[in-house]
Symmetry: C2
Subunit: 305 residues, 2 copies
């Protein structure tokens, strides 16, 4: 919440797979009000996004008609309106030019931020929503460098001149779950609180794994077998190994660029520890960078005039 | 089956996790008779290995008392008798010296081949059974080089002077299953016959993945999304990517050593194709190398006098 009270000028939606956040945004990009729900696109019954939308924003919108901008998986194949991807490199102007207009059943205009695609050696990459957060973070003065969004599918973005120069997705979080819950490695893991020692050993293993990751994963079995770690350390050892391998890849060739972590909670704490072991200082992005991204793109598109 | 008929001199057991093979072995290491069952250690009711053993070999053993040698997971923590590991490097003499004697309830002497351990940068590796196969293969004239045993946990062994110099385990097979069956990547896969084109694209991606494997895995989602491969190719693309990454690691620094594949069927065919793409010629080990390994170790231990 910005300390300067301002008029509402925009409604921003961050509509992801498992959650939906809506922002009432003021004249300087400040958040005047916010609603969080679990109505992510996978939880909307009958895919009736129209009904969810009107139920969510009716109070904000009835006071005075406001432009609406929406980012995230809502523009994917399983969302409300599938939109094409903008290719990297792209900044807020390119994203503003690529906004896809849409009109709801009650005649409200929604502007969809399209996803972004990258291509490395013929293999495409995709994201929807993260680009908006990073545009916001860059506008808030965090500047160029590497941005990391830890998660089921972690994203590493290279920001240059305030725009997204390139990025890569990593399967780290989902692979951790599949290994823990559905391989023999998980059968030896005992539950417990975060074990930093096991995590640190894992991070070092992951940082040096290189092409050997398929081999080092087997150490999740052998390290407790030889009493080099306890069964209670095993899950955090695996977590560290995968995050370490991700960091080794994500920071390769990145020089001394600042690393900004986007997110809160235990998972982001783990990345902070692991980056430190890798010899990289990191900082945290402030909250509400997504709303600021909506504001920057909307302003660039002339929606706030 | 050797063409020279000979007297039975040894009974060899290859007792693994999911299957049990027993060999009646002749005076030149030839296989006179063989029994295969699904009584692997995980399928033995009440862990009554003694009963399974006597039921299996009674006919062979009643004719004349024969020495018995057994290798595989039967010597693991969940097996009949846990034995310590022999460290690499070790050949047939070291394995013969480390045999663990055991007497069954009916007074039959069984000699357990212990497993072998390796250690890379403080992280241990383990195997039980593969060492016996490789001792047999080397004795059959395949000589030094790299030996690959594809599977749930693939093994890559370096053979020098007929002994096992070093080895590494890879989680390839189990990771393939966990990813296909328990991540979002599997939800886009459509069943079909082996798709060689998809597999080859995957092998090339895996060979060049290096530390980026966590990133390239995401391409299993994006390649079909951008119509670069069909949904029917996706599973074989993933299979190729993981096998390619395994080969990149397994052959690193291995020079031009010959590569011998141990195994039969579709999975070994895949490794043959992938090794060829990696520019490595490969050959197949003959059948019954395990029985020949039992024979060599037993002879070295003086059990055949």
């Amino acid at each position: 919440m910005n300390s300067v009270a301002s008029e509402a000028v925009l409604i921003g939606l961050d509509w992801g797979t498992s959650s939906l956040r809506a922002f009432l945004i003021g004249a300087v990009g400040d958040v005047l009000d916010e609603i969080s729900t679990s109505q992510g696109i996978m939880h909307v019954k009958g895919r009736d996004f129209d009904a969810v939308f009107h139920g969510l924003i009716q109070n904000w919108h009835s006071a005075a008609p406001l432009p609406v901008i929406a980012s995230g998986m809502i523009t994917s194949r399983n969302g409300w309106q599938e939109t094409p991807y903008v290719s990297v490199p792209a900044g807020k102007d390119a994203l503003a030019n690529a906004l896809v207009p849409f009109t709801t059943s009650k005649g409200i205009a929604v502007h969809f931020v399209t996803g972004m695609t990258a291509n490395h050696n013929g293999a495409p990459d995709v994201m929807r929503g993260e680009e908006t957060q990073i545009i916001g973070a860059a506008a808030m003065g965090l500047g160029d460098g590497l941005y990391v969004l830890p998660g089921t599918h972690s994203k590493w973005l290279v920001v240059k001149n305030g725009g997204i120069e390139d990025y890569k997705t990593y399967m780290t979080g989902e692979l951790f779950g599949a290994i823990k819950n559905h391989t023999i490695l998980g059968t030896f893991m005992e539950e417990g609180p975060f074990d930093k020692e096991g995590f640190v050993i894992g991070v070092n293993a992951g940082l040096s794994a290189g092409a050997d990751l398929l081999h080092t994963l087997f150490h999740v079995r052998t390290m407790p077998l030889f009493d080099k770690i306890t069964p209670e350390m095993t899950a955090d050892y695996l977590s560290g190994m995968l995050i370490g391998a991700e960091i080794a890849s994500g920071t390769a060739g990145g020089g001394d660029q600042p690393v900004t972590l986007v997110g809160r909670g235990d998972l982001t704490d783990r990345y902070e520890i692991a980056l430190s072991i890798a010899g990289r200082e990191s900082r945290r992005a402030p909250e509400n960078i997504c709303a600021r991204g909506h504001f920057e793109i909307a302003r660039s598109a002339g929606l706030l005039s």
